[in-house]
Symmetry: none
Subunit: 407 residues, 2 copies
Amino acid sequence: MKIEIINTGSELLLGSTPNTHGTWIGQELMKLGLRVQRQVTVPDGIAIEEALAESVSRSDVVLITGGLGPTSDDITREAAAKVLDVELIRDEAALRSLKEFFAAREIPMADTNLKQADVLVGADVLPNPNGTAPGIYAPPRLGCALFLLPGPPRELYPMFHAEVVPRLKALAGVDEIAEVQELKFIGVGESELHEGIDEPLSRIEGLEVGYCARLGEVDLRLIGTPEVIAKGRELALASYADYFVNDDGSSLEETVVKLLAEKGLVLTTAESCTGGLISNRITDISGSSEVFEYGFVTYSNEAKADLIGVKAETLEEFGAVSEEIAGEMAVGALVESGADLAISVTGIAGPTGGTEEKPVGTVCFGIATEEGVETIRGIHPRNRKDFKQQVSQRALDLVRKKCLSDF
Amino acid sequence: MKIEIINTGSELLLGSTPNTHGTWIGQELMKLGLRVQRQVTVPDGIAIEEALAESVSRSDVVLITGGLGPTSDDITREAAAKVLDVELIRDEAALRSLKEFFAAREIPMADTNLKQADVLVGADVLPNPNGTAPGIYAPPRLGCALFLLPGPPRELYPMFHAEVVPRLKALAGVDEIAEVQELKFIGVGESELHEGIDEPLSRIEGLEVGYCARLGEVDLRLIGTPEVIAKGRELALASYADYFVNDDGSSLEETVVKLLAEKGLVLTTAESCTGGLISNRITDISGSSEVFEYGFVTYSNEAKADLIGVKAETLEEFGAVSEEIAGEMAVGALVESGADLAISVTGIAGPTGGTEEKPVGTVCFGIATEEGVETIRGIHPRNRKDFKQQVSQRALDLVRKKCLSDF
């Protein structure tokens, strides 16, 4: 079933309002196993009719939001009537509830509101308990079913659940409802993962596969019946289980906080180049106070020596960005805080400060427990913010792996 | 000049990723005085070609983002070649920088990456220092100029500024380009600002006014000739100079780091509820190591007592979220670090932990210098992440004002 969304509103195109409707409807349809084939944003006014004609001609279902208000540029109803070639009539029940809406608020109804009770002949009126404009559902005509929906989220969202979802289910039929699973991988690049599994995945009949790369992670999306998803998952994990983080759509920091809590572990952080980003991400998660108490942001050498006991000789001999210092930072933070697990990072975020031996992007990690400390050196040459993000991602993933290792 | 944006990516239609590109490009074009006529989102794959053909047929400029990656569903290049009816050739310079990108990261390049060096005959290659896929600019053909741009924001944004803006300006011609000035205000709400100045601003002929509210700040956008912009600016600052932060588009943290550096001051942070967000924002700015050395993330009471000398009696008497504790945190951080200026925050991010006396959203700030300490109590009931952002915004603004006070 081909579904399109049209969002109307000049403010969406000026960038002053993000288009949350498109995202929200996409998510809600995904929950039904349905997919949006195209989303179009047009300004208020005449462009609505043009966009609607195109969408109706190529889709099975079109959902259009906005343009049902009382003002002169609210012309979605009129545009739909023209495109579907049906008349508009004033609906008595809609008019009554419109009048009641104003009466309940003790404000007079303007004449311009009258047109909000106009509906397409043969269409269902979708009640709007939260606003003035009822929605309209025009059953398939010219091969396309059409939903006209109000723009304000507080009106749209309840109407969508109450009126749109049951009609979409009926239109789709049971067969089309697909399952979706998203597997999050960290530590493997998108192209490497793709090269490793795309060809065998493509041979699983009925499985649809998508990749979404974010900074320091790749999400693999599997769509199909539960059986083919299970096959796809098994295939992906056969080669990449070491990089697999979760399949419930939660963030890495959520996974880490949950894991720490499950194991009853307290984490501490010693951050140089990330400047507090790791502790910030940890504390974004509700409940993090159970697993996180002390964070050290030691941006200068003095702070490293003073707060977490990094030795002057080590700084002198190896420099602040070295595995030796990362190790001392982690151990020092562990001791100072009394935590079970310490992660440290020290690196060169750039754009300045790089050398031939230690170019911008060089970073060293330390991870310490009572049993000892491990260090790792890496390189992530990126702009400053992306470097910090990627380094924090890798640091959190080191914590995750350490937790899983049952040290 | 009719401009359309096409955003590609199945994740945008599934709702798993909000379409921030559409919003961002809309805003950037507004700054040039240009407007987007339509925005279309299509999934990866064959739909790209269909959408591109339609957009090219009705617009003067089309910007398409995404689908330049190495995987089999990245087909924007191929779609553009078909629609414009030109060949693709492998660009030697692009291939070289692609190979350098992988070499610098010490990772092998997959064969699938090779196609990322393919460009349209007659087009400009737009360098991408932040990723593997160069952009492509095809000058007007069939009446439409076409930009192919990478999807990841860290690649798109710099390329847009360096490569797209100058070309758009040339395409639009001088007449269409208006001047734009953005005044950033902090500490005043959007509706208050609007109510205070919108009516008088609307009486300045030829001045177009826009408001953009972000968490903890409002940007006032003035568009027109330099003369009318100057009038609008004067009018806005006559009433709201106290809240005015900058007019150069820089972030609050940039302004703060610049100001600290100018005054030769070193800042330290003592963060409870923000968990490192303040130090993270400071260290996002290149050069921050000159003005920031020590950051204390004291999430637990023990950490507050242990690292920055908060007194057990004060905790006992007033609780961790109190002006008294905020004051002790700021003074303790100042003393421990030897900085010139210390900012502290302690609050209840929620969703749990609120009481009748101190509901979720309660926050106390402390700001200390050699001369003494001031404390402030506020309330920002929001979801956890937004609370942290808004509190960090207010904390940074307190630092900014303190610097300006020449204490």
